[in-house]
């Protein structure tokens, strides 16, 4: 029901803004409500990007700690959930970059994730797809998640990941091709 979702979204946004105002004044109970309302969205992103439940939990905590540090700069120019999502994406991408540098010192080639959201939480037909996403190389996986699941544009992905727009497109096509190959097996 699109209209209801639309109306609820307006109500939720207003309620979230009230919580943000209180959190900006140091009200930790308001901040906890913001956490409870958004943790699922943040954790889903972290889990898909890292394919590791332990790392996803750590990153989710990092995102909310970072959010607390930055919440004073939220001006209400965009929806709070969109702003939080960007904080989460940025946190995850910084971690992936530093993680890649660490791994490059000890191994050659791209690492693979060890767990997918499907392995942890998804008991339905989406399991194959989640597993296939988890099997993708990290950069292609990140671009696919941001573009096809989270709805970012190539220009935004390129800016956040420090890539050329053309590279983002190429990685997306590569990811989709690999996904189809895995799913067709």
């Amino acid at each position: 029901m699109e209209a209801l979702a639309y109306r609820e979204t307006i109500l939720e946004q207003e309620e979230h803004l009230e919580l943000v105002r209180r959190a900006q004044q140091g009200d930790i109970s308001a901040f906890e409500l913001l956490y409870r309302n958004h943790v699922g969205m943040v954790y889903a992103l972290c889990l898909r990007m890292t394919c590791n439940t332990g790392r996803a939990e750590e990153l989710t905590q990092d995102v909310f700690v970072r959010l607390w540090d930055r919440i004073g700069s939220f001006r209400g120019d965009s929806a709070f959930s969109s702003w939080l999502h960007r904080v989460a994406v940025n946190t995850v991408l910084v971690d992936l970059r530093s993680n890649r540098r660490r791994n490059q010192r000890v191994q050659v080639g791209e690492e693979r994730g060890d767990e997918s959201p499907a392995a942890v939480t998804t008991p339905d037909l989406a399991m194959d797809l989640e597993s296939a996403i988890a099997s993708l190389p990290p950069q292609a996986r990140a671009v696919l998640i941001l573009h096809d699941i989270e709805g970012y544009k190539h220009e935004e992905i390129a800016e956040q990941m420090g890539l050329a727009t053309g590279t983002s497109k190429a990685q997306l096509h590569r990811a989709r091709k690999l996904l189809r190959e895995v799913l067709d097996r």
Binding site: M1, E2, A3, L4, Y6, I10, L11, E14, L17, E18, V20, R21, R22, A23, Q24, Q25, G26, I28, E32, Y35, R36, V39, G40, M41, Y43, A44, L47, A56, E57, T60, Q61, F64, V65, W68, D69, R70, I71, G72, S73, F74, R75, G76, P117, V120, T121, T122, A126, L129, E130, H147, D148, I149, H154, K169, A170, L172, H173, R176, L179, R180
Partner: protein, 370 residues
Amino acid sequence: MSEHIQITVLHEYIDGEVREDVRREVHAHVRSCLACTEELRKITSLRANLNALRMDIQPARDLWGGIAGRLQTRDNPRILRLPSRTVNPASPANLWVKRVSLAAAVVLVAFGGFWWSGLNGAGTWQVARVEGVPSVGGETLFGQGKLDVGTWLETDDRSRATVEVGSIGQLQVDPGTRLRILQSRSTDHRIALARGTIHATIWAPPRIFFVETPSATAIDLGCAYTLQVDDEGGSLLDVTHGWVALELAGVSSIIPAGASCRTTPGVGPGLPFYRDAAESFRRAAHTIELGGTSESLTTLLADARARDALTLWHLLFRLEGADRALAYDRLMELAPHGSEVTRAGVLAGNRAMLQLWADELGIGASMFLF
């Protein structure tokens, strides 16, 4: 362009990231190229599956304890950017004020959208493929497209689509559906539903969005509903939010959330009934709307609950003489009217009195019938 469209171009086409001239070229090519059509189908199918993945996954354990512990060691955020409020948000009274204000804001936004629609005219509506191969004007729809006045949108038994009704609502179009826009003006958005099923969600003021079926016109009064039209032209309306009116040649029914109503070619709107009414009650109502028997009337009146006053009130318009008196007496037992309404007035078909009784029954939207 070479024999086949480059795969990267097909991806960008699906993502809506190609120039208009390329889009036209791809569109023209795939109409005659099975290989590229199949490739497009695979890409769109994958995208649809990715879109359907869960956006919300809860961690297996509560992470708040760890976060709260780390926050204890940090400074409070002290930069106040958003305007603070002087009211106490925890006060129940203020909560009500807030909710009423929010509701007003929602209404303003909704009406703002409506006026925006009016100022910008209506014309073409956006249509998007959800799954399968819907067609617009006989051409396969890949991704998104436009639906012009008079052009048929058709879904086969495996395809679905969504249609943006200007800026006043959305239709979800189920498999096996055929519809077209009849009118697209700011004060009159009208489609013909020849067969199939639509799920409509409309946030415009009442009587802006109309669906014409072979057996009645469904008139939106601010609502969400599902409307199915069968191959014989009969229909079934299920209202999930708000109100819908059904009309044909002077016969009208008004249907609230939780209720349904059938329409029959040559007969028009039937009697609205709540979906949780007894099966015997619903069967009897259907028999009566098709011409009826006295036995059906007896069953219907006997099995009616207080909530079924909705059906009985409509029945007053469809019966005459002694049968109308029977319906009146039963409705009085279930939900008696006030002193301004009289038995004689109702039995004589006094519309003002019927309207007053409808208001008392909570059928406030019946004002749109008179």
